[in-house]
């Protein structure tokens, strides 16, 4: 390791302590004798399954829509780019509950698009698993877009130019040159996006509500349990923590191992 000035090491230590202490509290105060019962409880499995499904679906949607959005953003210049960029990052600064209300106003039964869906097809999005996925996508996609856009901006344009000079079309350049070069950026963006989706609470409970097996993701279940069975809430939190760590480590090896 290269030398780091002592004051910076002190600050880094303080920073590390600040987020390790709550984690230590969670682990030390956990009712380990009840952990086994918590893990095997059917409600735990239901909430965990739903959380994994929703967060992975949100990440998949964010990949399909977010990578092209990042590409367009990176090719824009001047004022339009600034405006579009601000709009894209808006969900990051919006309090999630406000995001949930905004989703209502767009996709609710009386919303801009939702009223049409409801009147024409009798379709209601709120209170469904789709609503939970949408809430998570809304809040988490900006993390992917920002990471991928940063990756595109730091690409050496000569690779794409070379491919074009050799006769590759736009789509071919994107699929065979740009995308593979972006792999690290897409990976880190997807991880950020997925983690944010997994922890999403405010927009989900506002837009999708709370129903076990349909919209009750682990963070929502933790919130419900916290007020009646705080011990169960701690166990559930630890389970989510362990599962996310396992997936993160597993995916990192698999995805980045080849690099």
């Amino acid at each position: 390791m290269r030398r780091v000035p002592a004051p910076l090491i002190a600050l880094a230590g303080l920073g590390l302590l600040f987020f390790l202490l709550p984690l230590a509290g969670l682990i030390l105060r956990a009712p380990w004798d009840q952990a086994a019962a918590g893990i095997t409880a059917p409600e735990t499995a239901t909430a965990l399954e739903l959380s994994l499904f929703c967060s992975l679906a949100a990440t998949a949607i964010a990949l399909v829509l977010g990578i092209p959005l990042a590409l367009v953003l990176s090719r824009m210049t001047g004022k339009p780019r600034k405006v579009l960029r601000a709009l894209t990052t808006l969900p990051m600064v919006l309090p999630p509950v406000v995001g949930g209300v905004a989703l209502w106003l767009a996709f609710g039964r009386r919303g801009l698009v939702g009223s049409f869906l409801y009147q024409a097809f009798g379709l209601q999005i709120t209170f469904t698993t789709a609503a939970a996925v949408m809430a998570e996508t809304f809040v988490a996609m900006p993390f992917l877009v920002i990471a991928v856009e940063g990756g595109i901006r730091s690409l050496d344009p000569r690779y794409e130019e070379a491919a074009r000079a050799l006769g590759a079309g736009g789509w071919m350049v994107f699929a065979r040159v740009t995308l593979p070069l972006l792999r690290p950026a897409i990976f880190s963006g997807a991880v950020l996006c997925w983690a944010r989706a997994l922890g999403e609470f405010g927009a989900t409970i506002t837009f999708a509500g709370n129903f076990p097996g349909r919209t009750q993701t682990v963070p929502v279940a933790v919130y419900v349990a916290l007020e009646t069975r705080p011990d169960a809430a701690i166990v559930l939190s630890l389970i989510l923590l362990a599962v996310s760590l396992a997936i993160l480590v597993g995916m990192r090896d698999r995805w980045l191992g080849a690099l």
């Binding site: 039964r109 009386r110 509500g209 709370n210 129903f211 419900v224 007020e227």
Partner: protein, 201 residues
């Protein structure tokens, strides 16, 4: 009205009963605690956080909240079981949800809830914004709310909620705490409570 100097400056911290009692059990300090049931109050008493006996200061009953104008024509609890109707309830772990479950049981009605809200205000907002066709809330939630209408639930099916209030051992202003409770249970307090849909104790 007693000594206005003591109760002239009051800091309120409003939240669902279950939230407030969880906060107190985890060590939060306050002078007075008021709850929407007696069970959470009992928990605090058992934990030794209260001073003296809690008092019932008001009663509340349930009503069915529907969007303004009652577009789905809901008239009683049985209507809530209608297929295709979007009904939102409070989670049974919070007082309003527990009472709603009791009322539905009394009426012998099984409802497929679209969501079990973690606060009664969540039920109200989902009806008010039109996402839900109906929800069960307190009468006091409806009385002064312009975006929802209330459908009365007959006494035989209804549940009467006891609202309790107590001075806490962590009180820093004990005299003020007692003066505030005296005010709440006084005739003046009852007038305010009646105007907001509660029943006097």
């Amino acid at each position: 009205m007693g000594s206005p100097s003591i109760v002239s400056s009051i800091t309120f911290n409003f939240a669902g009963t279950q939230t407030l009692s969880a906060q107190l059990l985890l060590g939060a300090e306050a002078d007075v605690f008021a709850a929407a049931d007696s069970e959470h109050m009992k928990q605090l008493e058992v934990a030794g956080l209260t001073e003296g006996q809690s008092r019932v200061f008001a009663h509340n009953i349930l009503e069915i909240a529907v969007p303004r104008g009652n577009p789905k024509g809901i008239h009683d609890l049985r209507d809530l079981a209608r297929p295709g109707l979007v009904v939102v309830l409070a989670d049974p772990s919070v007082p309003a949800g527990k009472y709603a479950k009791q009322a539905l049981d009394r009426a012998g009605v099984k409802v497929q809830a679209a969501s079990l809200e973690t606060q009664v205000t969540g039920v109200l907002s989902k009806v008010a914004i039109g996402e839900a066709d109906a929800g069960i809330v307190y009468r006091s939630d409806i009385v002064n709310n312009r975006s929802v209408d209330g459908v009365v639930i007959p006494e035989a099916e209804n549940v009467i909620a006891d609202y309790t209030i107590v001075v806490l051992k962590s009180a820093r202003n004990r005299a003020g705490a007692y003066a505030f409770i005296d005010l709440v249970v006084s005739g003046a307090g009852a007038t305010v409570l009646l105007a907001t849909g509660f029943r006097a104790a």
